[in-house]
């Protein structure tokens, strides 16, 4: 989550081996997120991390780490800020791509972003997401919110197979498959 401590955390993550860092831009109603990320968002909002502050934070992080940075947020922030303006300013601040958790694949096709697929996605939707996605696909592995769970979802393996069938042979997916084997 973007915030005063995030640049330091980003440096630590990179030093620890992260290939890429997702930076949350907090939203008041993060439907897709479980208690940990929700609390982080509440804290960030209480610290005043609105869109402009998050972009500044991104800029600061960009100066301190070399790995790709991907802001993750919800559609309402872009609707208020301006879709094109957000895309432009985020990239200019150092974003390699974007994740917008509640934006369906067919909305705003001009906005280059990482698309999400879920166990509830049809093959048709997976194919469309794979076609439109920027770089890699975000696999939502449970019909639920983010958060630690004791076991991997049984939906994961078939979902990975579906993406491969759709032609989305992204390095991420391939690595994940190898790890599960």
């Amino acid at each position: 989550m973007a915030g005063p401590e995030t640049p330091e955390l980003a440096r630590a993550a990179e030093a620890g081996g992260a290939d890429m860092i997702e930076i949350g831009f907090p939203f008041s109603d993060p439907l897709a997120d479980g208690p940990v990320i929700r609390r982080a968002a509440e804290r960030a909002l209480a610290q005043g991390m609105r869109t402009a502050e998050c972009l500044e934070n991104l800029r600061a992080i960009r100066e301190q780490v070399a790995v790709p940075l991907v802001p993750m947020t919800y559609a309402s922030l872009l609707e208020a800020y301006g879709w094109e303006r957000f895309a432009t300013n985020a990239r200019e601040a150092g974003a390699a791509s974007l994740i917008v958790a509640d934006l369906p694949v067919d909305a705003h096709p001009e906005l280059r972003r990482v698309q999400l697929v879920a166990p509830t996605s049809t093959d048709e939707r997976i194919a469309l997401a794979a076609e439109r996605t920027d770089g890699w696909l975000y696999l939502v592995t449970v019909a639920g919110t983010t958060g630690a769970r004791a076991e991997l979802s049984p939906a994961l393996a078939p979902l990975v197979a579906a993406e491969e069938g759709a032609g989305a042979l992204e390095r991420f997916v391939a690595q994940l498959r190898a790890a599960l084997a």
């Binding site: 939203f27 008041s28 109603d29 439907l31 909002l45 609105r50 869109t51 919800y74 559609a75 309402s76 922030l77 872009l78 609707e79 208020a80 800020y81 509640d102």
Partner: protein
């Protein structure tokens, strides 16, 4: 209405929280241009009256939100109206002018509850009590008010005031 009055109402009034009961009622009259459609929101949760375009719970609609798109807190004495968003169909009806949206305060809803109870012996839920409050203002001969629920559930709240 047609069976009982042999004509359509001059106005149809419904309370609007998320908008489901209201859109259900309005749907039957959308093409009847002489029928006024009036939605009544809670004054503290006026998504259509005081909101802006935002995205909440999967819908891009009129929402109580700040300039950054962060959602604001709504308030209403009635749980069903206490919601910062509203179904996008209502936003479209507002923008096209086909429906008009007004508000009623907690106090006005409570007063309307008492009035209906005393005059008709019906306990309305506090949500449609908002619709009743504004229905009385209308300069219309025949008004259809959607009583979206009973007030048994709200007795404790009403007696508290």
């Amino acid at each position: 209405m047609l069976e009982t009055y042999d004509r359509l109402p001059d106005a149809v009034v419904a309370c609007v929280g998320g908008g489901s009961n209201a859109i259900g009622l309005f749907a039957g009259f959308l093409d009847d241009e002489d029928v006024r459609l009036v939605g009544v929101e809670a004054a503290g949760a006026a998504s259509l009256g005081s909101g802006r375009t935002a995205v909440l719970h999967g819908a891009r609609s009129s929402v109580l939100a700040d300039a950054d798109g962060q959602i604001l807190d709504a308030h209403s004495i009635s749980a069903g109206l206490d919601y910062p968003g509203v179904g996008p169909e209502h936003a479209a009806l507002r923008d096209s002018g086909r429906a008009e949206y007004v508000t009623a305060t907690d106090e006005e809803a409570l007063a309307a509850f008492h009035r209906l109870a005393e005059t008709e012996g019906i306990l309305p839920a506090l949500e449609p009590a908002h619709a009743l409050a504004r229905a009385l203002d209308l300069d219309a001969e025949l008004v259809l008010v959607g009583l979206s629920g009973r007030g048994d559930k709200d007795l404790a709240e009403v007696l508290d005031h």
